[in-house]
Amino acid sequence: MLKYVVKRILQAIPLLFIISLITFFIINLAPGDPIYMFINPETANPVDVEVIRKSLGLDKPIYIRYILWLKNVIQGDFGKSFQHGRPVLEMILERLPNTITLAIVSTIISFLVSIPVGVYSAIKRNSILDYMFSTFAFIGISIPSFWFGLMLILLFSLKLGWLPSGGMRANFEEFDLIDRLRHIILPALVLGMASMASQMRQMRSAMLEVIRQDYIRTARSKGLSERVVIFKHALRNALLPIITIIGFIIPWLVSGAVVTETIFSWPGIGRLYIHATFMRDYPVIMGVTIISSVMVVVGSMVADILYALVDPRIKYN
């Protein structure tokens, strides 16, 4: 087991290296110059341009810049934001908890819906409700999240006035749970919609797989009540493959966060990222990409390891 874990970690390192390489070269080889975000190219004094270029470290050849960047990152230094002059890591760490909170709440919502619905659809297969849920799942994966978000704002904030249209809190003085919940519910719903839909289908097929097994027939023939069979014997085993979903949903959540946070003015790393891209703030773009890739890679690694731990049929090699 330990060998498997070590092997997965050793595989993750070159993966992160490749990701950083791809992103760095895409950003830096692109036409255009980030320093013209700070000065007007028509009126700029060439001497100033050189000074700024040097101060941002953009005067060196690209491969040297990459090596320097990599060296610093390994030491925990992601550089300073071109735009704000603040350390990138500090800016990310400030906003990361907000993104994670949003991701966790949306995951909880989607599991709360998808697991019971998936189980129901599997045991009442081909019933009218099963068809309705499956249509709903299609709707969930098809709805554009930015439009869904705007429509929810239109309905619940602007027309009905029940919920705030954006931001993370209205009460800045103290921690107010109700206020926080009112702010998080819409963005969490938008962020969780797609994963909710796909989890419903996965849960349904996992459950269908399990209730065909012999041990379920055994449990039934023992005379156990249907409830015990489903919830005690079947559900436990059907939940196993759901663990691997944790690995899948992290990239979904990170990508979704960019859209959701922008629509709902949620102060997380997604919004930081969008602003950084528009301003060509290279260190911030690189920082957010690396941090979120680390989350993705670690997430899928943890999911694989957990799955191997709970399912003895999986061999670790």
Binding site: S142, I143, L150, L154, R204, R280
Partner: protein, 324 residues
Amino acid sequence: MAEIKLNNENKSVELAESYEYSDTFSKKFQIFWRRFRKNKMAVIGLTILIILYSLAIFAPFIAPYDPAGTADDIMYVDGPPTFRSYVGYNVNGEEVVFKPNFFGRDELGRDVFSRCIYAGRISLTVGFVSVSIYVLIGTVWGAIAGYYGGKVDNIMMRIVDAIMSIPTMMLLITVMAIFKPNLYNVMIVIGLTGWTGIARYVRAEFLSLKKRDFVEAARCIGASNTAIIFRHILPNAIAPVIVAATMGLASAILTESTLSFFGLGVQPPTPSWGNMLTNAQELETMVSAPWKAFWPGLFIFLSVLSFNFVGDGLRDALDPRLKQ
């Protein structure tokens, strides 16, 4: 008695109904259509898609207004939906009869219905072109990895893993913001980032197909590796590719609209369903002219949903093994 026998015959016909190598194309199509038709949602999806494509193709004949707007229109900024023709005034104060604006007008007074129809041309084309690019890359990549196996497979699939670990939307946003956002770049960029899923499907098919006897037979008669990959194995692996490509059309349209929404995709004045929403998202506009945000989004939603339904129906019809 006779009736029962008839029923039994029907049943056996249905069970025996599968694609045979010797079947003519029209026979195969008949079988395909009979299976596809059973999936009601897929039929609904196909109908919606036919309507959307017809609207897009015949846009100049259907759209009541010029999508770019005319001098007459600027008088009616954010005009509400109307279902009857009405008399209004143009810039010079002359009386003009306006056709109905089913979906209202936008911030420049342009007809939202006409723009939605013209935007369909762009959005649906972007989907097709970018999916064609990535089906091509993904199929070749997956075929080579699956066929050769071993080290080649290992390296190629690690690259796929690396690309899949980058949150796609982030990568797309970066690339589009840094390169010039326009119609062609959107198609290329979605095409270049979306192929990993197809590559995995094709590889999995190749891994199992390459061990089959017909591959051995082809090798015995001296077929080259290229011929075996493309002439012998690939036609057998095509079903999951078609299904994945149809679902891919859905996600490509979704991605394009998201990028265009952020101003990183198709650039105005060219209408795309995504960029029509860009100016509709301010809260004041959402209250005063909600139709500007509602209709283009509904078009995106319907087209994406329909492609997903059709993809599901294709899976049922082409490859029943995949059905759960």
